[in-house]
Amino acid sequence: MSFKILIADDEPLIRVDLKESLEGIGYEVVAQARDGREAFNLLKRSNPDVVILDIKMPHMSGIDLAREIGNKYPVILLTAYSEKHLIEQARDAGVMAYLTKPFAEKNIAPAIELSVKHFVERCSLVQKVSRLQDELETRKLIERAKGLLMEYEYLTEGQAYQRIRRMSMDKNKPMKEIAQAIIIMFG
């Protein structure tokens, strides 16, 4: 698949070579940056599918930038450094792949393809978890509100649920908000 890529490296010849390598594989290089800060500023305008960063760059390192953008873009680090603490920092920053220099052209495409796939999966899981958390919280609130209605209004569980549901429909508000209002009123 042809992805749009932003690359950042302070070594111009490495950057040109990387650009040509990527274009040779079939990707589109939409932006090139000389440092982390410039890459950050180019992100909005270029809207890449993947970001490839060197670690040691002036103004802002690749790891610092990955911390900022790691949840919005799949980030691949391409660096001469391979120390354990940097790999750990990259992992904690949400980096999707870590390639070391000197790089071989044949290793780039697999890293990009897998990074994008894993990033999409991660985003979908994050969304799913967030939705489930919200549903769980709503359910807890409704249970609490039902309990209060049963206690103060002498309703059965079914009646209490129906009351919350009807109020939600009448006021055109989600059941979560109705439940919160009941808890404030009786709690």
Binding site: V16, S21, Y81
Partner: protein, 248 residues
């Protein structure tokens, strides 16, 4: 007797005391020794790690230069492609040599241009090209020096190739200038000028690609190539603020 014993006792007491003090001080000295050695080892380890990264980065640069050449092999012989690659790698080495000689963080542009031109002209029996370098010594940051060295190598190689069109001798004039915030380096040859219809912006040979990329992207400057009586190649790039003051 008393005083004698007193003296003797005192001496004996002092002697023991001094021995203890000596042992104590020796212990401290040992601890200091170990501390200094550890610090030295730590510093050496950090230094070695940094060297290791630079070597890897330079190997990446070499690999990149070779890959850039591989993609542009049509129309040139294997010998020329390899010689051009070697001279690019050697021009990076010139910067390291200049840095190694103690100029930490900065490089003398005039010296760098002199070294690159000597390297480019060395071993060249025919045509016999002479380079005349003029202008002041200007200090530039070492990071930019690699780009300048690579660019100068390309401009000089190019000029040498075209400077002595069907002649056995030729001269290159290399002029370094500082005008306000900018530095300019001009390379002028005595060749036949640019071929008709030649557009340096569109030409995709590796030498000019390297020059355009490094001047525009790394030095944030401008590159121009003018024909006429000989060819004049000129790069102009801004000096960082702290270096402007340094070169006043």
């Amino acid at each position: 007797m008393n005083s004698f014993w007193g003296i003797e006792n005192k001496t004996s007491f002092d002697f023991i005391h001094v021995e203890e003090s000596m042992a104590f001080l020796a212990g401290i000295a040992n601890q200091f020794g170990i501390f200094i050695e550890n610090k030295f080892l730590q510093k050496n380890t950090t230094f070695l790690k940094e060297i290791h990264h630079r070597v890897k980065n330079n190997l990446q640069n070499v690999a990149s230069i070779l890959r850039l050449q591989i993609r542009r092999l049509s129309g040139i012989s294997a010998e020329q492609a390899l010689n051009d690659s070697i001279s690019r790698i050697m021009s990076i080495a010139v910067v390291h040599e200049t840095l190694y000689q103690g100029e930490i963080g900065m490089v003398d542009l005039r010296k760098l241009v002199g070294n690159v031109s000597s390297l480019s002209l060395a071993g060249q029996l025919e045509p016999n090209v002479r380079a005349e370098i003029s202008g002041p010594s200007i200090m530039i940051p070492s990071q930019e020096a690699t780009s300048v060295a690579l660019v100068m190598n390309e401009l000089i190689q190019n000029a040498v190739r075209h400077a002595c069109w069907e002649r056995k001798e030729g001269k290159l004039s290399i002029r370094i200038e500082q005008v306000a915030k900018n530095v300019s380096v001009t390379v002028q040859d005595e060749g036949p000028g640019l071929p008709q219809g030649f557009n340096p912006e569109e030409d995709c040979n590796l030498g000019l690609t390297i020059v355009r990329t490094l001047v525009k992207d790394d030095l944030r400057g401008e590159f121009s190539l003018r024909g006429g009586k000989g060819t004049t190649a000129r790069i102009v790039f801004p000096l960082p603020k702290n270096y402007r003051e340094l070169n006043l």
